[in-house]
Amino acid sequence: MSNEHASAGMMSGILGVARRDLLLAWKRPGDILNPLFFFAMVAALFPLAVGPSPEQLQFSGPAVMWVAALLAMLLSLNSLFLSDFEDGSLDQMLVSPVPLSALGLGKTLAHWLTSGLPLVLVAPVVAITFQMPIFVTGYLMLTLLLGTISLSLLGSVGAALTVGLHRGTALLSLLILPLAMPILIFGARTVSLVAAGDGAAGGLYFLAAYAVLTLSFAPFATAAALRISNE
């Protein structure tokens, strides 16, 4: 009975925090749009630097878009816990009866819905400019979908560790980028392999497995990090 009660509290905790963060994001659409524009601009820098040759763009498209997506995710991660830290909401979360890992997961869910998911949806538009075939674009979206889930979760640990520190943005990148490399490797390579006519199952399975792994462990690491940062 009490178990049921606790899990109900956890679910409503996750959803409550997520709903609140989504509402906050809705009221400040710039927070969602800026990383998207950033993504599109970084992706646009490469053709300008490399040259307009369609073969070259087709070849480097998956890699460029994945790197741009990774950087755009990093950009939005920095503010994940910042405003809650500044206005004291985080203190309330720390003393809340709902487990901190659940509340952190709710915030991460909202973060993914406002940064990861929009990237997945915008990716096809950018992919057109890289002359990417339709079915390859589908795989690009699928890898981005799985990869950004892991990135949000992994990033929440880094954001929790660096919340309240000065010069947090550069530090956050230093912490998260090496950890994110498996996601980048499998994400970008899988799309490249599909574009070259190879199978994608292995890479997709890896990305899915990694998403499950981060989903299982990252919320607890995030909670531990939030407690340490708020001491």
């Binding site: 560790l161 000065h166 530090l171 090496p178 890896f206 462990f217 990090a225 340490i228």
Partner: protein, 248 residues
């Protein structure tokens, strides 16, 4: 047993004991490395494929092994520090990180120097171990950057411990994913079924170097740890007495 650990975790006791232990690490380390360098450079037979260039493994292999080992030492002691709140364990992690970063750098540098005559390039992205070693270096840099950014020692200890543990979970995954990425590096010759595939004249200096480097790491870690303990305890009475008595 517990009493021993308890005593070791007390900073003044550790500080004294460590000073006595350092020579026991350093002396055999220097002997083994001296033998390894001499035997490796002059006595070991030339490799029939690689000529004299293979001799760089006498630095490369121990460094590469220690770059991984040090991360393990760092993550395990960070975990111990986080779970049982032992300050000395956190100090071990903090003292080990720069050593690990240097070993990683050494492994990368020697690997790249070896790569020039062997592969014809200083850097080969197709080689998974070179790449995962580079990511390893980034992990150490991130760890040290996080420590450096937090002023409060206790907070820095615990935050960096979380990062070290998250990193430790990721290291095998990074290794595997880079491996999948593509392979060029020669296969393992040392740990293999049916014994190492290596001439004994080449093997013994290498083993001497591996053990020598490990002991050197132990000795250096203890030295760094003494300094770290002294810094952390700088406001305590025993450090004051130590300073006033001229370090005796």
């Amino acid at each position: 047993m517990w009493k021993f650990f308890h005593q070791m975790a007390s900073p003044p006791h550790f500080y004294r004991i460590a000073a006595k232990m350092i020579p026991w690490f350093m002396a055999p380390a220097l002997m083994l490395i001296a033998y390894g360098v001499y035997a490796g450079l002059f006595l070991a037979p030339m490799d029939y494929q690689q000529g004299d260039a293979f001799r760089i493994i006498y630095v490369h292999v121990p460094s590469a092994y220690l770059s991984m080992m040090t991360y393990m030492v760092m993550a395990i002691s960070a975990g111990i520090g986080l779970i049982w709140r032992i300050k000395l364990a956190h100090a071990v992690a903090a003292a080990a990180a720069p050593l690990g970063a240097w070993f990683t750098f050494l492994a990368l540098a020697t690997g790249s120097i070896w790569g020039k005559p062997m592969w014809g390039t200083w850097w080969e992205w197709g080689d998974p171990r070179l790449t995962s070693e580079l990511i390893m270096l980034f992990l150490y840099i991130g760890y040290m950057a996080l420590r450096g950014a937090i002023d409060d020692t206790t907070k820095a200890d615990r935050a960096s411990a979380v990062l070290a543990l998250v990193g430790a979970v990721n290291v095998p995954i990074i290794h595997f994913s880079v491996e999948w990425w593509s392979s060029l590096h020669q296969g393992p010759t040392l740990i293999k079924e049916g014994g190492p595939a290596m001439d004994p004249g080449m093997l013994y200096p290498l083993l001497a170097m591996i053990f020598g480097f490990t002991l050197l790491f132990g000795g250096l870690l203890l030295r760094r740890l003494r300094a770290e303990v002294l810094f952390r305890e700088r406001r305590t009475k025993w450090v004051k007495e130590l300073v006033l008595s001229g370090g005796k």
